[in-house]
């Protein structure tokens, strides 16, 4: 499979200045990050607040460019200003707050906003809008006002808005942080569906462990560095290491780990309820 995203030594600093413009302090948001994502992958980036995961997401969308190092998305260097629009089109982004990323007052018009910006002809916009609204199950709501939708529905509209630009990749920056459990479920299943059916590369940034178990690979970030990476099962086998970094493992994994600590012979890295149940049944 093709290399879709390639990041090498990406470093980014936020510089705080006082009123006279003197440097007060430097916060290194990204510290020599390497990232490799294959086309069609489902990647999860985990980390506590301030770990640099959102900054990394903004780099993939070319909203920010690395201060040193480089980042290549679909063969295009994000440093090159001529590629900015093309990169934003191939790697669409969904943000945390559902209200602050919906531009129009009618659902279908909001989904059409992206295609309008990249100059898609009118008829084509309509087919794209219909298709992407159907792909997230929001076609029925096309004439509604976004203000009347639930958080999960708004996020699905935002995803449709990105899909209408025909991207190869979607970056979701904590898309479920402001949603209730039902909304979270809605958004996640829509995302997984896009990944499976349409082969869209997904980069899911989150601090909910449960959301990452379906990913192909997980990157764990802390203070601007990627500290762990691997398959979910590998990552969640290292329960103690995760705890050292103040990251909680999924509840089921934690329970299995605790049981194992107290003497049951369970395998490492149990991710789902069903797995745990069948393992426990095998014991008795």
């Amino acid at each position: 499979m093709d290399q879709f995203i390639k990041a090498r030594n990406v470093t980014f600093e936020y510089i705080r200045r006082d009123d006279d413009g003197n440097v007060e302090g430097i916060e290194t948001a990204l510290d020599k990050v390497d990232l490799d994502v294959k086309a069609g992958d489902f990647i999860a980036i985990l980390g506590a607040n301030g770990s640099g995961k959102s900054t990394l997401a903004k780099h993939i969308n070319a909203l920010l460019t690395p201060e040193s190092g480089y980042l290549i998305v679909d063969g295009k260097d994000t440093h090159n200003k001529d590629h900015t629009l093309a990169i934003r089109q191939t790697a669409g982004m969904v943000f945390q707050n559902p209200d602050n990323q919906i531009i129009a007052s009618i659902v279908e018009e909001d989904v059409g906003f992206g295609p309008e910006n990249i100059g898609v002809p009118t008829d084509e916009i309509w087919t794209r809008v219909e298709k992407s609204l159907r792909s997230v199950g929001m076609y029925h709501y096309r004439h509604h006002s976004p203000n009347r939708l639930s958080g999960g529905q708004k996020q699905r509209v935002a995803i449709a808005g990105v899909m209408a630009m025909k991207p190869k990749c979607i970056i979701l920056d904590e898309p479920t942080a402001m949603l209730d459990p039902i909304g979270r479920q809605e958004v996640l299943s829509a995302v997984r569906e896009l990944n499976k059916k349409n082969g869209i590369t997904v980069i899911l940034i989150t601090h909910y462990m449960e959301e990452t178990i379906h990913a192909n690979r997980i990157f764990v970030m802390e203070s601007g560095k990627v500290i762990m990476q691997g398959k979910p099962r590998e990552i969640f086998s290292r329960v103690e290491e995760l705890k050292d970094h103040h990251l909680a493992v999924p509840q089921v994994t934690e329970l299995a780990w605790e049981l194992k600590q107290s003497g049951l012979s369970l395998p490492d890295g149990i991710l789902t309820k069903e797995e745990l149940i069948s393992e426990l049944c095998r014991l008795s």
Binding site: K58, N61, L63, L85, R88, Q89, G92, M93, F95, N97, D99, N100, Q101, I102, I103, A104, S105, I106, E108, E109, G112, F113, G114, P115, E116, N117, I118, G119, V120, P121, T122, I125, W126, V129, P146, N147, G161, V162, M165
Partner: protein, 277 residues
Amino acid sequence: MLKDVTLGQYYPADSVIHRLDPRVKLAGTLLYLISLFLFQGPLALATATVFLILLITLSKVPFSYIVKGLRTIIIILIVTAAMNLFFTTGTVIVQFGIFKLTYEGIQMAILMMIRLVYLILGTSLMTLTTTPNQLTDGLEKGLRWMKKIGVPVHEIAMMMSIALRFIPILTEETDKIMKAQMARGADFQSGGLIKRAKAMIPLLVPLFVSAFRRANDLAMAMEARCYHGGDGRTKMKPLRYTAADRNAYLLLFSYFVAMIALSLLWTKVLGGGKLFF
């Protein structure tokens, strides 16, 4: 009080007027306003009245609903009428001290009342039959020529539509902050004007902070979706004139010509005054 404002509210219905291109309605409203301030004599007044009633009937907006919009300007109406009644010079009918009631004054007062009422009715008819989005679209396309003289038409239209989108969100937020502050003992109701204005500070500061944060987020989301100004942008719902729009323009034009002709007929041929005598 605030809920009585029909100006700027949309009344959903399926009518000829609703379906017209927003540019026609904008141009029509402008032309109607100009005609209101130019006409002279009862013939033209009758034409303006008939024209307005015809449009309201066509729009299927209930007459009482439009008239409700007048309630908010009642004070302005009374003040204007009073000013005109007593401060117009001319043939005196009655005199109280410095106040003189004149024939001309009565005429001017009636004329101004009619103008203001028709003005409000005409403009509310436009906003009641046009969605805010159509309005901004119409403004953007209708005023596109102004881009040549350096007016950022697209940007202004975009700001207007975003403002409209965020009005309900910020209203809800204001309510939330207000309740949060009240829960901690803030008092927005009692006291004089200055005390009440001061009480607004703990409401306005967080509201502004949050509005700026939202603006920042929204700008980033728009950029992420390839927004780069009006150049090279296509439209999902482009405005196109139809036969109905052309007929509407024709009707507007003939109305305007008729207004001028009737005014001239009254003043030049029949030798009448401004309104009745």
